[in-house]
């Protein structure tokens, strides 16, 4: 059994990476991720973890190092945020099709301009299609558990894909929470050593990352796509076994008081906890409202989401990303397409809130639900709405 302690979430994630026995860690500081790699460097300096800690000169180099180390067969970890993630962008497209199981924490943060160190999901949404498995944690416990799960899934030979665990910058990364830090024996039982099918080995030479001529490029992309779609089975299995060992259950989507709810809020990440409080408050006032939270973002759990949405007639989707000139936020767009032309599909209204560290409050959720109910009667003129904009 693990031990429940009051601990900063970043530190707890670093402890999880230690428990996972990561072998190579590439690190470049960026707020609000920095505490994770700082603590990892301490862990290594104290001899608590036998790993190579590479203090690279940029995030682009961090991800490049990770590709090399994963290809050479080491369990590989890094963490970043915002501009750092953006600088990595070019290299983020490589480990997926190359089937390199790197694990990365992204402490989600806004993107410049204007420069902002505070939380929203614009950094990761700009990297939506890099072909990594992606999850979103709601709280510190989940951040720790998803980190262990990430290694397990990434390195499963049926998957062999990189995984990002998203945590909200500051609102998760910098808060102290009561978190159960698992035992080493439990983690060892859950997470076997990394045994890659192929690696850079002079005894068995392989060519990795060759030119993709037109005759093979589409097939290579298809293979990657099939792999990420097929990973869902292993992701679910990984959570099932996680529950067996650690006693905490995880699913691709979670619901809260959603049964018979007329309106469902849809969220990702740490605002979901506020959303639950809002749901309680609204239920007390007699509003038929519930919550669906997406934990697994890639591969998108379509059937699970449709099931979770149940018979609700209205979905109020909250995106923490404003893609300029687009029809709505990325989560909103995703959901509209999975329900497209489905008989009895709910009406989907897309809201953008909580950009650049703006609080998403209980009152804001109430406003969103009110608007969604009104729009269900009289269609809005716009496909999405930015909520909580100050007029003066």
């Amino acid at each position: 059994m693990g031990k429940r302690v009051g601990i900063e979430v970043s530190i707890a994630i670093a402890e999880a990476v230690k428990l996972a026995r990561a072998e190579v860690i590439a690190a470049y500081p960026i707020t609000p991720q920095t505490h994770i790699v700082e603590h990892l460097s301490e862990i290594i300096a104290n001899g608590e973890l036998d790993a190579e800690f590479i203090t690279v000169e940029s995030e682009h180099a961090a991800m490049s190092c990770c590709c090399g180390s994963s290809a050479a067969g080491a369990r590989t970890y890094t963490a970043t945020s915002s501009q750092g993630l953006a600088l990595m962008s070019e290299i983020l497209y490589h480990p997926g099709p190359m089937r390199l199981p790197i694990v990365m924490t992204v402490a989600n943060r806004a993107l410049a301009a204007p420069i902002s160190i505070w939380n929203d999901h614009q950094d990761i949404m700009a990297q939506r299609d890099i072909g990594w498995i992606q999850t979103f944690a709601e709280n510190g416990q989940e951040a720790v558990d998803l980190t262990l799960h990430a290694f397990r899934v990434a390195e499963d030979r049926k998957v062999s894909l990189p995984v990002i665990v998203n945590i909200d910058g500051f609102t998760l990364s910098h808060v102290i929470e009561p978190i159960v830090i698992p035992d080493q024996e439990e983690v060892d039982a859950y997470l076997p050593a990394f045994k890659p099918r192929v690696r850079l080995d002079v005894k068995k030479p392989v060519t990795m990352g060759p030119v993709g001529i037109p005759e093979v490029y589409t097939e290579a992309k298809m293979a990657h796509n099939e792999a990420i779609k097929a990973s869902k089975r292993v992701i679910l299995q990984g959570w099932k076994e996680f529950a067996e060992i650690f006693g905490r259950e995880y699913n691709p989507v979670e619901t809260y008081r959603s049964e018979d709810a007329e309106v469902l809020l849809v969220t990702m990440g740490s605002i979901s906890e506020t959303a639950m409080t809002a749901v309680d408050a609204m239920r007390d006032k007699g509003t038929s409202v519930g919550l669906v939270r997406i934990r697994l973002w890639r591969p998108f759990p379509g059937p699970e989401f449709r099931k979770a949405a149940g018979k609700a007639s209205v979905l109020a989707v909250i995106d923490r990303c404003l893609p300029p000139g687009a029809v709505c936020g990325p989560v909103g767009a995703e959901l509209r397409s999975i329900f497209y032309k489905m008989p009895g599909a709910p009406k989907i209204f897309s809201f953008v809130a909580g950009l650049g560290g703006r609080d998403v409050t209980v009152e804001l959720f109430e406003e969103i639900v009110d608007k969604a109910r009104a729009y269900a009667k009289k269609r809005p003129t716009e496909l999405y709405e930015v909520i909580g904009v100050r007029e003066r």
Binding site: E23, G68, D201
Partner: protein, 312 residues
């Protein structure tokens, strides 16, 4: 003298390795100096090597999937980051051997890039890897332009040379800047071994590559690599141009061993630079003024190098 190098006897015509890390059948142009140099590099290193290659001609011509010319483990990620990929490979091997997860065995780690990948876009990645002291060898195959994208100028394009982005015209007269001194930048990192080499002096090249691999820590070898396609020169004359570049003192051969400059081949009676320019379309527009400017600057640079070798 670095202890690793003391034992090294050197290659001679009699003990040339038969091994070929880079197999024939690649798709490089005829007379390609890069692929010729790379073959020698691989011959010198043998089969116990992991290669991390940058985007560029050598990546493209050797690996059109499902074919590969590589007889050794090889990885390509992107254009600028071969040194970081090599850092990751080196770190992974170190920890895996330490933990007994892979057999203990010395394996050389080679990062390869063109002059663009090395001297321009990748400079920060290489600098980072060298500063961190990873045990790897970086080889720059310098054909003096971005060849893979169709002969655009790079920081290593020589003064006056015509490329598609340094075209001579009514106002322009080819590349306007002097060739970037990448070996000096590398030496400034204080790494144990830096050298320049040329495929025209193949034993010298192979010996330098082997020495670079033998030293512990980062090492750098800058190899002059004629490119008939980009230079507008005859394929069969590539080795001749490589030789002329040395004989005219345009590309001097030297080593920087722990900061000490050692000239490998002193050119006491240099040929005029004009001899090297003849037969290369990239230089045919050069004016008399430009030619004498180049000659003066080449003499000056060589004198500086001599002084460096005397002073260190």
């Amino acid at each position: 003298m670095i202890t690793e190098l003391e034992k090294f006897k050197g290659f001679s015509a009699k003990n040339l390795p038969k091994e070929e890390g880079l197999a024939p059948g690649h798709r490089a142009c005829q007379g390609c100096g890069e692929v010729l140099a790379l073959r020698m590099v691989m011959k010198a290193l043998g089969k116990d090597v992991i290669v991390c290659c940058a985007t560029g001609c050598m990546e493209i011509v050797t690996t059109p999937f499902p074919q590969t010319s590589w007889q050794v483990p090889w990885i390509h990620i992107a254009f600028e980051n071969a040194a970081s990929v090599a850092s990751g490979v080196e770190a992974a091997r170190k920890v895996l051997m330490r933990k007994g997860r892979i057999p203990k065995r010395h394996v050389d780690i080679l990062a390869v890039g063109g002059d663009g990948a090395t001297g321009d876009i990748g400079l920060s990645w290489i600098s980072g890897a060298m500063e961190r002291g990873h045990d790897f060898l970086y080889v720059c195959l310098d054909n003096e332009a971005y060849m893979n994208t169709g002969v655009q100028r790079s920081g290593c394009t020589p003064y006056g040379a015509m490329t598609t982005t340094s075209p001579p015209g009514k106002k322009g007269s080819g590349q306007v800047t002097w060739k970037k001194n990448v070996p000096a930048i590398m030496a400034a990192h204080g790494i144990p071994y830096v050298a320049t080499a040329s495929p025209a002096y193949f034993l010298d090249l192979m010996n330098k590559v082997k020495k670079a691999a033998l030293v512990e820590g980062p090492a750098y070898v800058h190899i002059y690599s004629p490119c008939p396609t980009g230079w507008g020169s005859a394929g069969e004359r590539s080795v001749e141009f490589a030789k002329l570049a040395v004989e005219t003192r345009i590309f001097p051969l030297y080593e920087v061993i722990e900061g000490r400059y050692v000239i490998s081949r002193k050119i006491t009676k240099p040929k005029p630079v004009t001899e090297y320019f003849k037969g290369q379309r990239r230089f045919r527009h050069l004016s008399e003024d430009q030619l004498s400017f180049i000659q003066a600057k080449v003499d000056e640079e060589y004198a500086r190098l001599m002084k460096l070798s005397e002073a260190t």
